[in-house]
Amino acid sequence: MIATVWRVTGVAFSLLILLFAALLYGAAPDQVAFLDSPVGDLTIGFAVRTDDLTVLMLAVVGVIATCVQVYSLGYLHQRPASYHALVTLFTAAMVTVVVSDSLFFLLIGWEVMGACSYLLIGHYWERRDARSGAVKAFLMTRFADVGFLFGIFVLGVGAGTFRISELDPARISAGVLTTGTLLLLVGVVGKSAQVPLQTWLPDAMPGPSPVSALIHAATMVAAGVFLIARLYDVFAASETTLTVLAIVACVTMLVAALCASAAVEVKRVLAWSTVSQLAIMFSALSLGTAEGRHAALFHLVTHAAFKGLLFLCAGVLLHQVGSAALVVLRRYTRRGKLRKALQVTFLTMTVGLASLAGVPGFAGFFSKDAVIEAAWEQAHDGSVVGWVVLLSVCLTAALTAFYCVRLWLWTFFRTPALAGGIGAFEDGDAAADLDEPDTSKLRDAPWVMLAPLVLLAVASIVLGYVDGVHLNWVIGLVSTALVLLGALPAYSLWRRGADPRPVVFEREFGVDPAYHGLVVVPVRWLAKLTVAGDRDVIGAYVRAAGRTGTLASQGFRRLQTGNVHTYLTAAVIGVVALAVLAGVIGS
């Protein structure tokens, strides 16, 4: 009964957000402050604001949240009450971030999202990978949030206010501005899983797929992009921060795309792809121009649609087939079984992947082109950052097409190579023993799960045209060429039944084990050292104090010899000494 209540509440709440966004559309920007507390010179309070960015984000959050809540009605049967409650709480926190005008109010939403993410990744807490993934996600984002908090301090104290609408870059000193924005950037890097804090997002995949769609594709990880967009004039006023952001973004997009090309499980590919696409949004923001900001937000919206769609499709595969590992899925592709049995899923996943790859006509094509165009404008003006961003985005577009086509082909199509390309994925997978699985029971998902897929697939096409079509034909042709450049190697490898995965990419550049060795192992050692120190050093002092008392009394006890003569001798000596002293002092 409670589960039903929460299910209804969840769907209703997300619809409410959509209603809210619709009501606010076109309204004049406004801010309201409440619950102010003065602390010394500063005021710590809550405040909300509404403007175009808010409405856009509310719409995105509302649509994705509704899709995810409806989808979960069919997907999730284990502990649904807590699941829907947490997803609703998460959505509320995201709304808080989006409408907040006070840096602290934003921080509350920011961190509550992190807590909900932890609890939802750990939804299947019986599984070890879910438990460790949840902890890793929370700790890495918490570490980044410390930097975020310090950034709020620097900016707030430097500007004399914690209200976003009152932060005026012209009135803040340059040093404060740079330090503050760099620290905020630390928080953004952690929340949006950019290098060097990128390892938590792929490990968050043991969570339920709708959670991955909502939190780790559309909303929470996009909160970093939103933050920079919200504080854009503050960030744009600091050249150093923009350069650092550009470097981080370009490195991340390439690293993540390479890792996606070597991942062997659908959700992991999508997770790395998310990291890569977020990096593209950040690179657009790092250009420092209004076009860059617009392109980033455009890509955020389209990405929310197609990435959410793709994760939900992965969820269908998990729900119907039982696994999302390529080595297992590929066994269902004989005579096209998988794509014939799961027709709607196949079609919508194709749309999603096409949009992600940037196939012309789909929304992803338009948003990626907007980014390339903004970068080209900057590069054209002679900016080094612009050139770097341009080249990185182009290279990433090709890589994106590569792994999208790779994923699509290996999941749904039987490779014409001998024996279905045995050896491409076999190494070390337990489910590899199944030779010919029983596909007679394979059905598509219930309509509750398919309806959101269709909606998001339509969005992945239509969103490209919503803002009117501003297309630079040259850039369009270049990006199409890049798509082909990436798609062809994937196709030819698939035809040959090979999937070469360089060890470096498969090991994801060894970052995770490095962090384990650099951070986890020393901290555990220090913990043992501290406990030993408490027991053997500080405890020793306390025990020594007690022992001193005992030893002193043992020493004094030796005076009590029981021999009267000893006592009398001592008395006589004492009297003589006192007499001498009296004489000396008296004289």
Binding site: E111, V146, A527, D534
Partner: protein
């Protein structure tokens, strides 16, 4: 007003005396009910005292104005001569700093008595336990309302012997030697600290000629060297044992691990506040220049406490010891806030005091509940997958852990945040770089705090249910537990989303 303060001060002690005079045949339930009624009355009285205007009597130190320039009178003042030959007066009064703490004390004592209605100790003798809790309540309220140094010291000491008895008699019944050792260490270390503190008070009296806190605050002791510095160091060290500040914290883990549930709740929720309250009430206002001299050291030890407490938690296998070390870390934050001597820092310290009392009280209630159900507090013996075996209690434990690690939106965040803000921008006469280093280390300490709490949740609540079958007598949340813990949960959330409820009390700070 005066009558109410005097009433809530002496009522518990008189009630305890009355309770002891009744023959021991009185049932456990009746004793707990009696205790609940008395502490409930005290709670009502304390709430009536809640100051209507946000203010505290402020002072102007020798160099410059530290904390506001409005002089509001104390509320509910009683000022009569007590020991005229020594110049000691029975002077009590409350203001916006002490009343929230008094309300916290009354609330926690009330909840402990309610809890004892259904959940009585294994060895019985609830009558004496309730009486001792009431005596502790008197001592604590006396300390929080004392406006005379000797009266402060006397009330400070009143709580020690009852707490020693509580730990020694009703403590961990598996380990008599251990609980005796824990209780003795607690008493001896705290008495040693109190002796040093008393020496400091006497030095202050030698310099200024008065024991009266109001008079001393209005004309503080100038000078940062010599006798004022010696007095400040003595008082600081003496209170540091109680706070507890690293490295004088070693009594806390043992005392908590061996104490009964209600003992731990009061020890963590109330007794630890005595030390920090003393620092804020006596050290900072009465000896401002000397405090400015020792503030960097106080900050340094507090920062070490944050990190050392968190690291020690990461290696713990006993639930109650883990929460005890987490208290060491949290009190480190409060100590750092006091050391910054800035409006944000002091407000953060005061807020964190209340928040820690609520959250750690809840944590110890939960730990006690889990320990009672499994007859052990060792993580390895309790097993895992409490989400499957005790779902509601495990959910509350997760909530309490998230609150304690300082998640924004819950009460624990605001105190820590304001302390860090205070460290970012400390008082003008303190070395800024040092405090920035402290701030960074303390920030990293919050990550460690998150790490150990998540480790606790992972090792206790999560896990494979197949490997951890439910224990025979472990039933989920009972009604009395829900009633007792609901106020703590509600207040944690309320203070998290509406910190102004408390912060506006200290707007003059």
């Amino acid at each position: 007003m005066n009558a109410i303060l005097l009433a809530i001060l002496v009522l518990p002690a008189l009630a305890a005396g009355a309770l002891w005079s009744i023959p021991a045949a009185i049932g456990d339930r009746l004793a707990a009910a009696y205790g609940s009624v008395i502490s409930g009355l005290v709670l009502v009285g304390a709430l009536i005292l809640w100051p209507r205007t946000g203010g505290w009597f402020a002072y102007v130190p020798a160099q410059e104005q530290l904390l506001g320039d409005a002089v509001h009178p104390l509320e509910a003042v009683i000022d009569v001569p007590w020991i005229p030959s020594l110049g000691v007066r029975f002077h009590i009064g409350v203001d916006s700093i002490s009343v929230p703490l008094i309300v916290l004390t009354a609330l926690l004592t009330f909840l402990c008595c309610l809890y004892s209605l259904k959940i009585t100790p294994r060895i019985g003798r609830t009558r004496s336990l309730i009486a001792l809790l009431l005596v502790i309540e008197t001592g604590v309220i006396g300390t929080f309302s004392a406006m005379d140094l000797v009266l402060f010291f006397v009330c400070f000491e009143i709580v020690l012997i009852p707490m020693w008895l509580v730990i020694d008699i009703w403590g961990d019944h598996h380990d008599p030697a251990g609980r005796k050792r824990a209780a003795t260490t607690f008493v001896l270390m705290t008495v040693f600290g109190s002796a040093l503190m008393l020496l400091g008070f006497l030095l202050v009296q030698r310099v200024t000629g008065t024991f009266d806190i109001v008079a001393l605050t209005n004309s503080p002791v100038a000078g940062g060297h010599g006798v004022p510095l010696a007095a400040a160091v003595l008082i600081a060290v003496g209170l540091a044992v109680k706070v507890p500040l690293w490295p004088l914290h070693i009594w806390l883990p043992d005392a908590h691990a061996k104490a009964p549930t209600v003992g731990s709740v009061l020890l963590a929720g109330v007794l630890l506040k005595l030390g920090t309250y003393g620092l804020i009430r006596i050290l900072v206002p009465v000896l401002p220049d000397a405090t400015a001299t020792i503030a960097p050291y106080l900050g340094a030890f507090s920062t070490v406490a944050i990190v050392a407490g968190s690291l020690a938690c990461l290696a713990q296998t006993d639930v109650k010891r883990l929460i005890a070390y987490s208290s060491v870390g949290h009190m480190g934050f409060i100590g750092l806030g006091i050391a910054t001597m800035s409006p944000a820092g002091l407000r953060g310290a005061l807020f964190a005091n209340i928040a820690h009392g609520l959250i750690t009280g809840l944590l110890f209630f939960l730990a006690g509940a889990i320990k009672d159900r499994h007859d052990t507090s060792d993580l390895r013996a309790i097993g895992r997958a409490l989400y499957a075996r005790l779902p509601r209690i495990a959910a509350l434990l997760t909530f309490a852990c998230l609150a304690s690690l300082g998640l924004p939106g819950l009460a624990g965040f605001w105190g820590e945040m304001l302390v860090l803000l205070g460290a970012y921008d400390p008082a003008a006469w303190l070395p800024r770089t040092t405090f920035l280093v402290f701030m960074v280390i303390a920030g990293l300490g919050t990550v460690l705090t998150a790490a150990y709490f998540l480790r606790l949740v992972r090792n206790l609540c999560q896990g494979d249910p197949a490997e951890n079958p439910p224990a025979a007598f472990a039933v989920d949340l009972s009604r009395i537990e829900l009633i007792t813990w609901a106020p703590l949960v509600t207040l944690t959330v309320l203070l998290g989303v509406w910190p102004g409820l408390l912060l506006q009390q200290w707007s003059v700070l």
